[in-house]
């Protein structure tokens, strides 16, 4: 499939035994998707204004993320890449906490150590993201095997992009998952681009989902702009996983509406027409239409929800910007459980420099 063409008709992976989403579920999902979109819009402008340093937008991929998150149990472990805002929000990570991370301030649980979007929250069973592509994939398999060894009935889920299917960890992770029948759900958000490389130059396989066959387990393609379709596919994969039937690869076909990150200029490699084409299946609009047709939403309520999201973002940003900077004395913490003598000596040197004003944050 060329990224410049329409997405193909997709076999949606709904399996009969899996409960669908109720209208209430869909409204909940919609609110999270609105919040995700509003966060993107605001953060892109914060970045342009120099108020945060960098940003990775999720717009266009909200249904895939929220649909997947809504099919999980709270005890499931999530191994994200860097673009899964919808998952974090759905699992209840506070928006202010996230903005704290984007700023890297004193409220940031990660102590200002990582670039924006590279977060993780143990309380929400979201493992902390890193930049190297694909590395979370094998880790998700390891955690799944550990859970099984502990007799914890849960699944692990990992998110990654179309580009990540070329990574070493994709190959190793899916192979180990196949061999050990790990209770892991692999969600590939195929957003058609890995920075400037279109999907069809990433690999010559017909779909990304079919790569699962090389590891002896099923792969399914799902319309990632349809929150219910994604929910169903993930719910199905999850029940297979916890029943001991092994892993599943889900390819959610989506499109990245914005730049790869705020460092990227997508007009260098793709046309506006292509973007417009895909915006016709904007997942937020699709869900709005669906909710309206279900009678669960009207224009007034929708406007209120949109405003609710905007206001929540504005509030979180204000609060986060009012929070002080990260404390430099945390600099040497967490390299090890306890600092080594070498680190203590470096810390002394560092403290002196700070005290003398020879270095400034």
């Amino acid at each position: 499939m060329s990224a410049t063409q329409a997405p193909p008709a997709l076999p949606t992976a709904v399996s009969p035994g899996v409960a669908g989403m109720t209208p209430e579920d869909l409204v909940r999902a919609y609110r999270v998707m609105l919040l995700s979109r509003a966060t993107d819009d605001r953060c892109l402008s914060l970045q342009r204004q120099g108020r945060i340093g960098f940003y990775v937008p999720a717009s266009g991929q909200e249904a895939a993320q929220v649909g997947a998150a809504s099919a999980l149990a709270p005890e499931d472990w999530v191994f994200p890449a860097y673009r899964e805002l919808g998952v974090a929000l759905y699992r209840g990570v506070g928006l202010e906490r996230l903005i704290d991370q984007f700023i890297g301030n004193a409220g940031d649980l990660l102590k200002g150590r990582q670039m924006p979007n590279h977060y993780g929250y143990r309380d929400h069973r979201i493992v902390v993201a890193s930049s190297p592509i694909g590395t979370q994939i094998t880790q998700a398999v390891g955690a799944a095997l550990a859970a099984r060894r502990r007799k914890d009935s849960l699944a692990t889920i990992t998110f990654f992009g179309d580009g990540a299917t070329s990574s070493n960890d994709f190959h190793a992770g899916l192979n180990f998952a196949g061999v050990y029948r790990a209770p892991t759900i692999f969600v590939c958000q195929n957003n058609q681009w890995a920075i400037s490389l279109p999907r069809e130059k990433q690999t010559r396989s017909r779909t990304l989902a079919e790569k699962a066959e090389a590891y002896g387990f099923p792969g399914v393609v799902v319309d990632g702009t349809d929150v219910e379709a994604v929910h169903a596919a993930v719910a199905d994969a999850r029940s297979r996983a916890v029943r001991g039937e092994g892993p599943t690869l889900i390819e959610a076909q989506v499109y990245r509406f914005g730049p790869h990150s705020t460092s990227d200029d997508p007009r260098r490699y793709r046309t506006d027409a292509e973007v417009e084409h895909w915006k016709a299946s904007d997942p937020v609009l699709r869900l709005r239409t669906r909710l309206t047709s279900l009678g669960a939403l009207d224009e007034a309520r929708d406007a209120a929800l949109v405003e609710e999201a905007r206001a929540a973002v504005a509030k979180a940003v204000s609060a986060a910007e009012a929070t002080g900077p990260v404390d430099p004395t945390t600099f040497f913490d967490d390299v090890f459980a306890a600092p080594t003598p070498q680190l203590l000596a470096e810390r002394d040197e560092f403290d002196q420099l700070l005290k003398d004003g020879a270095v400034k944050p």
Partner: protein, 325 residues
Amino acid sequence: MTELTLVQAVNRGLQQAMRDDPDVLVLGEDVGVNGGVFRATEGLLKEFGEDRVLDTPLSETGIVGTAVGMALYGLKPVAEIQFLDFIYPAFDQIVSELAKFRYRSGGQYPCHVVIRTPYGGGIKGGLYHSQSTEAYFAHTAGLKVVIPSTPADAKGLLLTAIHDEDPVMFLEPKRIYRSVTGEVPEGDHRVPFGKARLVREGTDVSVFAYGAMVPVVTDAVEAVAKEGISAEVIDLRTLVPLDEAAILASVEKTGRAVVVHEAARFCGFGAELSAILAEKAFYSLKAPIARVTGYDTPFPYALENLYLPNVERVARALRTTVRSG
């Protein structure tokens, strides 16, 4: 001569080599249509075509493994790794294969690949867009390790690298990609490997640096000059081969040494410089050898300015070293 930024100089170096030698080609992630995420390969696809400018899938293993195969066949591939932080999926190909092909084949199979990659901090890149791990490569027999600090050297060392016969790790100080500009000779400008650059002469202390630390050191040396300290600044340019003669000569003259790099201290490249001096310039040394470096922590995001050696840290080390002994 044209006034260029460092990254423009890299770009001109690539263009020059590709114009002069049809065996030179470029491969990596986003190097073609996008012109590289730092624009180092801008314009090359248009001029040289898909055959010589390969946008690759997202696999550093694949990029380097493919480049190795191309080099064995006789081409001169220049592989771009988007950030040094992302080179590790290719580490096996680099240290087990690229570095050892010539040796393990008894000289039958030279393997000349240039791996270009931006490295270092100062761009608010956090843990994974900031690291300086040149010591890994310098410790690996069979690899040459080159780090320019000026636009002219960026072009001149890159052209030497591309026309060399050995594998070259070409580390580009991304922090000064655009902040440093300078005159760059036109044409096939070459700067030889193994010849350090004397940035500034001095008599009281020798300072060794490379890459993005060179401007920091220069500023620090200027600052302490006002206090009457005369520091000699040497830009190593190539860590392998190392210009040991220049290093030893300088310390034999000054009797004091400060080593500066942004990489973590423990087992960093500065340790090797100290060791060489402690072995071969021992009787000239009048004071302890100081190292001004990054710390032995992962690279932090919000506090990166506390991690990186700055002018004041270097200046303090210069003062202490000159006053000791």
